[in-house]
């Protein structure tokens, strides 16, 4: 068993895990839940996009962004703007003082569509914008911060304030953005009613395929040399710099990738929730996503995606049963995970796997290797597991 795994390296194991996750999302959940619940699960999956972005940016790149909600919101608002414009035909809004503009604009005494809303009449422009605008914002922001060597806690604080600024801006510009109510009351996408059960299934599947695509793309990046550069930057930034890398370029790149993933999630959220509001942009969501990522496992794309889905589903049930207790319970889960499983659910899985391997496939030499590795492990248990996993599974080359 061990030998087979060693021969195949870690890649096969990852593919099996991906297959299980895909089967869960594509087969098990649609069979187990009706359209209404599937739609809720789809919204949680939209958050998983942000979680996998955080794995790349925070887990691998060491940049704790507390502002991923900004990109989630940019994607969500771009999608919602298109849907809202489609819903605001002159016929549908005939009762307004200015027909043909979104209702909240009319309530705020706007008499014409702002110029920057115009392009969102086009679906292809919207799709391009919801990928390119977050990427551009992440580039400008990343360039400004990383070139000035802003990192660690300072980076977290700046991204947090970006999230705050963004939601304040949206709330304040009610006439242009829908304010605190957000953008709501839309039903159709290119004439297709997205609130029917069949549409919900289709959109759910689109969401799942996009998520799996992002996970594959992310894994490809992380397993390339660029992924190892990110780990190296986290371990020893100066060494990377003095090995001829422009560290900033790599940080900007991964920050942009995380931003685009988040934006796709935001768009899928707006589509499935038929609604987007400043609370999907602000600090609350941004921090919640970091927690989801930590619980799932910030070093594992699959772990983080699964964790986001699991915790949010648990929240759905438990917050119904114990509305007051849920937040406390959520805090406890976080506490237990951080203290006992620093690598989150993914780490828990690795432990179980190692335990199983040690009992079913262990030989004398493996045991000796483990003992050796444990003795010389650097930072106690954590490193011991890492070493053991690497030793047992081989798979470096």
């Amino acid at each position: 068993m061990t030998t087979i795994l060693r021969l195949l390296g870690g890649r096969l194991e990852w593919l099996i895990c991906l297959g299980v996750f895909a089967a869960l999302l594509l087969v098990v959940l649609p069979l187990a839940f009706n359209g209404y619940f599937l739609n809720l699960l789809g919204r949680y999956l939209a958050l998983a996009f942000v979680a996998i972005g955080l794995v790349m940016c925070w887990g691998y790149g060491g940049m704790l962004s507390l502002g991923q909600g900004v990109f989630f919101g940019l994607g969500g608002y771009a999608m919602a703007m298109f849907l809202k414009l489609e819903a605001s035909t002159p016929e549908a809004t005939a009762r307004q003082s200015t027909p043909g503009i979104p209702d909240f604009m009319d309530w705020n005494q706007l008499t014409a569509l702002p110029w920057w809303w115009e392009p969102f009449n086009s679906f292809s422009f919207t799709l391009a914008a919801l990928l390119l605008i977050p990427a551009a914002v992440a580039y400008v922001f990343g360039y400004a911060l990383f070139k000035r060597r802003v990192s660690g806690v300072y980076f977290a604080i700046v991204t947090l304030s970006l999230a705050a600024a963004m939601s304040i801006l949206i709330v304040g510009q009610q006439g242009y953005t829908g304010g605190a109510n957000g953008i709501t009351d839309f039903q159709t996408l290119l004439g297709w009613d997205i609130t029917t059960d069949s549409a919900r299934y289709v959109i759910y599947y689109i969401c799942v395929f996009l998520l799996l695509g992002c996970i594959l793309l992310g894994q490809w990046i992380l397993s390339s040399r660029a992924g190892r550069v990110l780990i190296a930057v986290r371990d020893e930034e100066n060494r990377v710099r003095f090995s001829g890398y422009s560290v900033e370029d790599f940080k900007i790149f991964v920050f942009m990738v995380a931003a685009v993933f988040s934006a796709i999630g935001g768009a899928m959220y707006a589509l499935q929730a038929s609604f987007i509001s400043p609370s999907q942009v602000g600090i609350g969501l941004s921090v919640e996503l970091v927690v989801l990522c930590a619980v799932g496992g910030r070093f594992s794309l699959l772990g983080a995606a699964f964790g986001a889905l699991l915790i949010k589903t648990a929240e759905m049930y438990l917050s119904d049963l114990f509305p007051q207790l849920w937040t406390i319970l959520f805090g406890l889960i976080l506490l237990v995970v951080v203290l006992a499983f620093p690598k989150g659910l993914a780490g828990l899985y690795e432990l179980t796997r190692d335990y199983a391997l040690a009992h079913f496939g262990s030989s004398q030499s493996d045991a000796a290797v483990e003992e050796h590795a444990d003795k010389r492990s650097l930072h106690g248990r954590e490193e011991g597991f890492l070493v053991r996993a690497k030793r047992i599974l081989g798979g470096i080359r």
Partner: protein, 248 residues
């Protein structure tokens, strides 16, 4: 050493001050191709600051650093590396959570921009180069191990190997044998003598016994200035050097 040695590095009137304190105060230093030079001096003499200036870690406030025909002042750290300057830090700085092989692979001088790194492939040429470099520093059989598990001395050698794989024309080492056992010092001395055959090496060192093993020429710094320079035996008997540095 090559006859008619070519000048590789010329540092002239180099200065840097931190809040008015002149850490490096008008240093002139010339290094030939293929030369091994040791910099000694008391604590705070500006030795590490000098290396920091050359590799771009800190920005000089005056003077010039000419490497071949390139002015290194004003270049970014990675540009200086691309020009052919490698720097080893005092404390071993390696990637502990990667294997020895991956450590060396990451410093292999290809695919060092974002796009290049995404499409970087591990060819047999890369593997051979890594094996050969690891063999050179005695880590040839440790390639699969996590770098964090190496002993202190082996970590220092790994970092030297990571620099060697980039094939720099100038290698700068900051106290490479600090914390090493006597046997490891001996091995390091042999290693340095071997690698200085193909390139210039600039070393900061405190241990005079070790300096005598490797150096023919030393530069003594004191208070940000060059105090003495020349053959090791001459410098050792220089009265000012004995008074300022060697005497105590």
């Amino acid at each position: 050493m090559v006859a008619n040695a070519q000048l590789l590095l010329s540092i002239e009137d180099l200065a840097v001050s931190f809040d008015g304190f002149r850490a490096v105060d008008g240093i002139n230093l010339y290094l030939n191709e293929g030369e091994l030079r040791v910099i000694i001096g008391p604590n705070g003499a500006g030795k590490t600051a000098l290396l920091d200036l050359v590799c771009g870690k800190t920005r000089a406030t005056g003077g010039s650093i000419l490497f071949r025909d390139k002015q290194l002042r004003g270049m970014t750290e990675n540009q200086i590396v691309h020009a052919g300057v490698g720097r080893k830090f005092q404390a071993p700085s390696i990637y502990e959570s990667l294997s020895v092989f991956e450590n060396l692979e990451l410093t292999y001088p290809k695919g060092r921009n974002v796009i290049g790194s995404l499409f970087f492939r591990r060819t047999s040429e890369v593997e051979e180069r890594i094996q050969a470099t690891a063999d050179m520093v005695g880590l040839g059989d440790r390639l699969e191990d996590l770098a964090g598990l190496l002993s202190h001395g082996q970590k220092q050698w790994l970092e030297i190997a990571m620099l060697l794989i980039q094939d720099p024309q100038l290698l700068m080492l900051d106290e490479p044998v600090a914390g090493m056992s006597q046997a490891e010092r001996q091995q390091t001395a042999e290693l340095l003598n071997r690698i200085s055959q193909d390139r210039s090496v600039l070393i900061i060192e405190h241990d005079m016994k070790f300096v005598e093993q490797i150096a023919s020429k030393v530069t003594v710094l004191d208070q940000g200035k060059v105090l003495a320079e020349g053959n090791i035996d001459r410098v050792k008997n220089d009265e000012r050097v004995i008074e300022r540095y060697l005497g105590h």
